[in-house]
Every structure is written in C-alpha cells, then in structure tokens.
C-alpha cells in the first residue's frame, strides 16, 4: 500500500516492497526497470526510448506514451548516487528534485520518494504548514460555500 502525502514542503510517497534493496535499486537505475514501471498505470514507456548514464551529472531519459498516443520525453539529471540506498535527480525543465530512499527491512525494503518543487520562499516548515492550512481552508470553503 502506498502512502502519498503533502507533508511540509515535500510530496512524499512511501511503499513497502517485497524485494531486496539491490533489486529495487536496479529497477530505478536500469533501462529495463525504468521502462517497466515509470509510466505507472496510465502511460507506457518504450524500453528502447530509455537511456541511462548513471553518474553524477549524467542523465536518464525516457518517452512516456499516454493512452491518447501523445508522447512526452522526460529527462532527469543525477545529483547524488549512493547505491543501493539513495538516488537524487532533478528534472531540469521544472527544477523538480526527487530523492529516492531505499531501506532494507526484515522482509523486503521500505521505499520513500520525496519530491520538492515549491519555490525557495516556501521551503520552510511554517510556509508548508501554511500551504496545508490553505488547502484545509479550501476544503472547508468548498463544503460550506
């Protein structure tokens, strides 16, 4: 089961996986692995479109194809690589920074994906709590127009 939350200034998705850390790492850092899951349930990734240059400053890239047939090239630059525990990469277009953390547990691994995109002004706990409260206020507003 995934938990995915806006928590503070981060979007955090967490999942326990029934596989050891090396296999999860390989899924994130090999063309075959990325092709297998990066599209999620609503897009496909052609294996031949995936390129991986696994070094700091290198990039990985892929094409996603939506059910409508629309394709989109995604590129990510590696910022930090600590096999098989932590992978940090940026999307150059948006500045989106993603940190993947893999922690071995007794029967598999705990995987956490942190995403940051909010501008510098919002990278404080106070601002993040404020944003959360804004969304709460929005929900209240929509329930009680």
């Amino acid at each position: 089961m995934t938990t995915a939350d806006l928590r503070g200034d981060e979007l955090i998705a967490a999942r326990h996986l029934p596989a050891d850390a090396e296999r999860v790492w390989t899924a994130f850092t090999s063309a075959a692995g990325i092709a297998a899951f990066w599209g999620g349930s609503h897009a496909t990734v052609a294996p031949e479109s995936v390129t991986v240059d696994l070094r700091v400053g290198g990039e990985f890239a892929l094409d996603t194809r939506a059910p409508s047939g629309a394709t989109r090239r995604l590129r990510f630059l590696y910022v930090r690589i600590t096999a098989p525990h932590e992978l940090v990469f940026d999307e150059p277009v948006t500045g989106l920074r993603t940190t993947v953390t893999i922690r071995p547990t007794g029967d598999g691994t705990d995987l956490t994906v942190h995403q940051r995109r909010l501008p510098p002004e919002l990278r404080t706990r106070q601002a993040a709590d404020g944003l959360a409260s804004i969304l709460d206020a929005l929900a209240t507003y929509l329930e009680n127009p």
Binding site: T2, A4, D5, L6, L11, A13, R15, L17, P18, A19, R23, V24, A27, G33, A36, F37, W38, G39, G40, S41, H42, T94, L111, V113, Q115, R117, L118, P119, E121, L122, T124, Q126, A127, G130, L131, S133, I134, L135, A137, L138, T140, Y141, L142
Partner: protein, 109 residues
C-alpha cells in the same frame, strides 16, 4: 495552470499574512479594512498583500459603491491542489507498477 502562474501562486502563499488573508476570505468576502482588523498591520500593508494575491489570481476585488470587497477565487486555489494531487497520483501509479514489476521478476526466478 502554466508553470509561471504556479510559481507566482506558490510564492504568494509563502507569506503567513497572505495565507491568513486567504483563510479569512474563505469564510466570506471582506474589504481591506475588514481584512486588516485582526492584524497589527496598517491598511497599506494589507493592501500590498491583497495586491500580490490579486496579481497571481487568487483574489479578485470588485467595486460596490464606495466599498471594494475582496473575494477568494476558489477555482484558482483548486488548481494548486490539483497540481499536488497529480503529483501524488503519478507516484501512486508508478509504485503500483514497480511492485508488479518486482513481484513478476520474483515469480520468474
């Protein structure tokens, strides 16, 4: 919502006074004078904050005789939560697919 608009809107929300103003407006329209009441700030300062919120489209101001009430544009705010929900959904889907990939590999071994 274009990325530049998202930047403006999230940056506008980076200020606690502006967030408080939006929370107040979620409960109903108010003039700058009414908005200023709970704050230890001048009306000019509140006007400045309202200006920032207007420029990024989160608030609109209309004229009613001598009053100029402000209104929260909830649809605009909803676009921000949609952006967040999209990110959340993408990773939910992706991790489901990763789990299927890993489970499939395991069965094939």
């Amino acid at each position: 919502m274009p990325a530049a608009d998202l930047d403006l809107a999230f940056a506008a929300l980076g200020d606690p006074v502006r967030r408080a103003l939006l929370s107040r407006l979620a409960h109903g329209d108010a003039t700058v004078g009414e908005l200023a009441e709970p704050f230890d700030l001048t009306q000019q300062a509140i006007s400045h904050h309202v200006g920032v919120l207007r420029r990024c489209g989160l608030v609109e101001q209309r004229r009613e005789g001598t009053r100029r009430p402000c209104r929260l544009k909830a649809d605009r705010l909803a676009l921000l939560s949609t952006w967040i929900d999209d990110q959340r959904r993408t990773w939910d889907d992706r991790l489901d697919a990763l789990e299927r990939h890993l489970t499939g590999d395991g069965a094939a071994r």
